[in-house]
């Protein structure tokens, strides 16, 4: 436990000092990594803990972003109400998705959530009067006080840190353990007295809530939202971040978000075919390190411990 505290201290220090040493543009990449880390964690709650791999979180995340930008620009409302409404909308959308999807599992769950996400994308594309269609919604610029990269980074960190703590507590709570039980054996859980669909519903709701927080932050960060934000590619990227970091590790989400976003930034200097690179990365990870980066490190450490102890 002492060691864990040390790690947290080191991570906190690095995160606090980072914007002081990075050039401006890279600070905004770090901000983006924090935001997408939350999205990837929200996916991990379902994929890693409850054993249900979703492909709709881009839609949930993007819905929050749409609501925030619609509220602050078109409706002329305040930023805080906008964020609250965005997160609420994401959670409500997750509730609807959950009702439709929780009775399925495996590939059926994957495909059903994919289809639900596509519907949202279709709506964003066609409902031009509200969503601006292909043009999307452009914000009025970040609020004055968080306009520069460094300040915005600290504000994001100030939101992401407590959210991460909350999510950590969530997956390690008695309820979080029930999700891992469901992942391993639903029939056993039922016979022990658990209402499995109810637990999955609540997990989906929590996951949507956290994805909504990420989406709301993204809206302010990016100050622009378009159908590509709710697209399947976004859901896939989020899932890939969770998998790259290590499914079921929660914090691996940040490692995965970092790896994918840095890769995207490097690759896009050479080619516009990011989705193809994303797809290939996915395949490579699934073949060579299905347990992800953090998962692999844990595995190696466990093995070393076993070798060193008699």
């Amino acid at each position: 436990m002492k060691r864990a505290a040390l790690w947290i201290l080191v991570a906190a220090l690095v995160l606090l000092v980072l914007p002081q040493v990075l050039p401006g543009y890279q600070v905004s990449i770090a901000t983006q990594i924090l935001i997408f880390g939350v999205l990837a964690m929200s996916i991990d709650v379902l994929a890693g803990f409850a054993g249900r791999t979703p492909l709709c979180h881009g839609a949930i995340f993007g819905t929050a972003a749409y609501v925030v930008l619609y509220w602050t620009t078109v409706a002329g409302g305040g930023i805080f109400t906008g964020v609250a409404l965005g997160v609420l909308a994401a959670t409500a959308l997750a509730a609807v998705f959950a009702l439709l999807a929780i009775r399925t599992s495996g590939v059926y769950f994957l495909l059903l959530t994919l289809a639900l996400g596509m519907i949202v994308w279709g709506v964003c594309l066609r409902w031009t009067g509200v969503t601006g269609g292909e043009n999307g919604i452009r914000g009025l610029g970040r609020p004055e006080m968080v306009a520069d990269h460094v300040t915005f980074y600290y504000v994001t960190l100030g939101v992401v840190a407590p959210v991460t703590l909350l999510m950590w507590r969530f997956v390690h709570s008695p309820f979080g353990l029930t999700l891992r039980g469901i992942r391993d054996s639903e029939t056993r859980m039922r016979s022990l007295g658990y209402n499995v669909p109810l637990h999955l519903f609540l997990a989906f709701l929590a996951s949507g809530f956290f994805a909504g927080i990420a989406g709301a932050l993204y809206a302010i960060f990016n100050d622009y939202v378009s159908p590509s934000t709710v697209q399947l590619t976004q859901s896939v990227a989020g899932l890939l971040m969770a998998i790259t970091g290590g499914i079921g590790t929660l914090l691996g989400a940040f490692v995965g978000a970092g790896a994918i976003i840095l890769l995207e930034n490097t690759v896009s200097a050479f080619t516009a075919r990011w989705p193809i690179v994303l797809g290939i990365t996915f395949i490579v990870i699934m073949i060579f390190a299905p347990e992800g980066i953090v998962g692999r490190i844990r595995l190696l450490r466990a093995r070393m411990r076993r070798v060193s102890s008699p």
């Binding site: 969530f170 891992r180 056993r188 016979s191 022990l192 499995v196």
Partner: protein, 247 residues
């Protein structure tokens, strides 16, 4: 009566796996259900626990009609079971498996941000069940790393720990060595008398020493019922077990 089944049938497409079985189990009774492979014993357990609700008939548990109730509701009323094919949480530790077993009927399962550590009460219950089933020394091991015999013991520990009123044991000793079978027999014998037990088991020697009453099924139907010694001497029962067709 703690449990009564009235004319229970379970139909799978063309197959009637359980066919019009009636059964009454008294509070505190120890009952065995025997029958050749495919007789419908496990399916009967699945009907009782709600995994496959009966297509026909009525199930009353503790004065309540539970015929259509989902499995978790029945568990909440005090039905516990083990599985013939080991059904545990392989990626969790023994202690975590037990925590899940312990909290299935408590409100703590809905603690969303609380600490998962055991309370003093929970720890006492868990220790008692692990000691009774003799796997206390393995509590921090991942379940997938346990031996098969230990997994069978954990099956029982998990069914026991939340103090069920009715315990359904589906071949708890299946696939075990003679030495391990002896351990399981001892564990069952040592269970508190206020737990009503229905035990599926093929081994008549094991059955004989554990239960007061035996029900024999064949082809999904009730075949015979009686004290263990009488069932052992029963011609019809001998016939189905030896695979002869009786007229």
């Amino acid at each position: 009566m703690l449990l009564s089944l009235e004319n229970i049938s379970v139909q799978f497409d063309a197959l009637k796996a359980v066919d019009g079985v009636s059964l009454n189990v008294r509070q505190g009774e120890r009952r065995a259900v025997i029958g050749p492979n495919g007789a419908g014993k496990t399916t009967l357990f699945n009907a009782i626990t709600g995994v496959f609700p009966p297509t026909d008939g009525k199930i009353v548990f503790d004065g309540r009609d539970v015929t259509r109730a989902p499995p978790h509701t029945r568990a909440g009323l005090g039905m516990g079971r083990t599985f013939q094919i080991t059904n545990l949480f392989p990626n969790l530790s023994v202690a975590q498996n037990m925590e899940l077993a312990l909290r299935g009927r408590s409100r703590r399962k809905f603690s969303f941000f609380g600490n998962a550590d055991l309370t003093v009460d929970e720890r006492a219950q868990l220790d008692r069940a692990l000691t009774l089933t003799r796997i206390g020394a393995r509590r921090d091991v991942l379940v997938r790393e346990l031996s098969y015999g230990e997994q069978r013991q954990l099956e029982m520990a998990m069914a026991l720990v939340s103090a069920p009123r009715l315990l359904l044991l589906d071949e708890p000793a299946a696939g075990l060595s003679p030495a391990e079978r002896a351990i399981v027999t001892e564990i069952i014998r040592a269970l508190p008398r206020d737990i009503t037990i229905v035990l599926i088991e093929h081994d008549m020697d094991l059955v004989l020493s554990l239960v007061d009453w035996v029900t024999c099924l064949n082809n999904g139907q009730f075949l015979a019922e009686g004290a263990p010694a009488d069932i052992r001497g029963n011609r019809q029962v001998q016939d189905v077990y030896l695979g002869r067709r009786h007229a």
